[in-house]
């Protein structure tokens, strides 16, 4: 599916990943524009139901949730809980048969603009391979 342009929702924690993405922008780094970013105060705020809501949405083919590295959380413990939530959610999605790579998670800190660009490239590439997401539509 070469010409398929996926639409990916990026749920970013405000203090690190959002700042990292902003830094990627200010340092003029190039990364695919398929990602639409939603800002949340902390990766701990991400409720698995948001991921499910993204699935229901027509035209959305993948979800990327990104937060601070464990230990760096602006709210100290937000991403520790998030880490457990994402681990369980990832196993559940896989168990239900949703292809690996549809939902991806990453830790991107405020200073890692370059890593953010690489993460987005990888996610877009994976989802291009997987093709449009027709489940739950």
């Amino acid at each position: 599916m070469a010409d398929f342009e996926p639409k990916i929702v990026g749920i970013l924690c405000n203090w690190c990943s959002y700042a990292g993405a902003d830094l990627a922008g200010t340092s003029r780094l190039k990364y695919p524009e398929n990602i639409r970013i939603i800002k949340v105060p902390c990766s701990g705020r991400v409720n698995p139901l948001f991921i499910i809501k993204c699935f229901q949405q027509e035209g959305i083919d993948g979800v990327l949730v990104s937060g601070c590295h464990p230990g760096d959380c602006h709210y100290t413990t937000g991403n520790y809980y998030a880490r457990r939530k994402f681990a369980l959610m990832n196993k559940m999605l896989d168990f239900m048969g949703i292809e690996k790579g549809r939902v991806q998670f990453s830790w991107v800190s405020g200073g890692e603009g370059a890593k953010w660009a690489k993460v987005v490239e990888k996610v877009v590439a994976d989802i291009k391979k997987l093709g449009p997401f027709t489940k739950f539509k």
């Binding site: 698995p48 139901l49 499910i52 809501k53 699935f55 229901q56 464990p70 230990g71 413990t77 520790y80 809980y81 880490r83 457990r84 939530k85 994402f86 681990a87 369980l88 959610m89 990832n90 196993k91 559940m92 999605l93 896989d94 168990f95 239900m96 048969g97 949703i98 292809e99 690996k100 991806q104 998670f105 990453s106 830790w107 993460v119 990888k122 489940k135 739950f136 539509k137």
Partner: protein, 280 residues
């Protein structure tokens, strides 16, 4: 065993230690037992105890007012521990009449949970009926069905769950029968925001069951009531067992054991790294 149980229940009621004792009475369909509420010593005479007392009576604790006595098997006690952990009732308001149970039956054959039960004698109780039964290590693999599905390919898994869950009629018996589903307003009923569309099709059903299993992670003790209550015979145990297995493997936490402990989903451990293989 049954006389001892009746006598203890009557004694609790007459001494006003509890306002009601919840137990089992003979059912009226097939050989099911059915929950029974004894407010006076006379009501206790209806109580029975046999292989068919499958219901997990802990669900009635979250609805009861005042002091409650409850006849509880080992697995029911695990649910009571969960309920107390989550502040739905204080330990002093519950008088647990523990029963040594060596397995119950559903429609004649041994319930799945009893094959690998580790609490033939309840973990905590105020009164114990019957003599202690040692729990031996079970030979069968608790997560057999889970492994079966895990070995399938994603497409097969998706197809399996799609077909299974398309039978669901959203009657929410699985939710109403579960002792730990005590929310006044479930996420499925909220319209602001509309988490899950109300219409009944396989996609919405899947979403409901996925999130309910996720909400049960590190809380479900595997009493199997949801699968028994489901009119459409959907194997819901597999979902909750999968979550229990993951919580055990990743966070080393088993629910229903320690009243003071916090369920794994509410806790964290700085040193663990369950995220190493899937978070970039």
């Amino acid at each position: 065993m049954i006389e001892d149980l009746k006598e203890k229940a009557k004694e609790l009621l007459t001494s006003k230690k509890v306002d009601v004792v919840i137990g089992y009475e003979a059912g009226t369909y097939k050989d099911y037992a059915s929950p029974s509420f004894a407010k006076t010593a006379k009501d206790v005479d209806r109580f029975v105890w046999n292989k068919n007392c499958v219901n997990n009576l802990a669900i009635y604790i979250t609805k009861a007012k005042g002091k409650v006595g409850i006849i509880a098997k080992g697995c029911d006690v695990k649910s009571i521990i969960g309920i107390i952990q989550e502040n739905q009732i204080n330990r002093e308001d519950v008088v647990i009449i523990g029963i040594a149970c060596d397995g119950v039956e559903i429609d004649g054959e041994k319930a799945d949970k009893c094959n690998f039960c580790d609490v033939h004698t309840p973990k905590i109780y105020d009164i114990l009926i019957g003599d202690k039964i040692e729990s031996k290590e079970s030979s069968q693999d608790k997560y057999k069905e889970v492994a079966e599905i895990e070995n399938k390919s994603p497409e097969e898994r998706w197809k399996y769950w799609k077909d299974t869950l398309s039978k669901c009629i959203r009657c929410y018996a699985c939710r109403q029968v579960c002792p730990l589903c005590y929310c006044d307003k479930c996420f499925v009923d909220t319209t602001v925001p509309q988490w899950i569309p109300m219409s009944v099709n396989e996609d919405n059903n899947m979403m409901f069951h996925m999130i309910r299993a996720y909400h049960m992670a590190s809380r479900c003790i595997g009493c199997g009531e949801c699968q028994r209550a489901c009119p459409m015979n959907i194997p819901l145990n597999i979902l909750s067992k999968k979550m229990t297995k993951e919580v055990e493997e990743m966070f080393g936490y088993t629910p229903g054991v320690d009243i003071e402990a916090k369920p794994a989903i509410q806790d964290f451990n700085k040193k663990e790294d369950p995220d190493k293989e899937f978070i970039m």
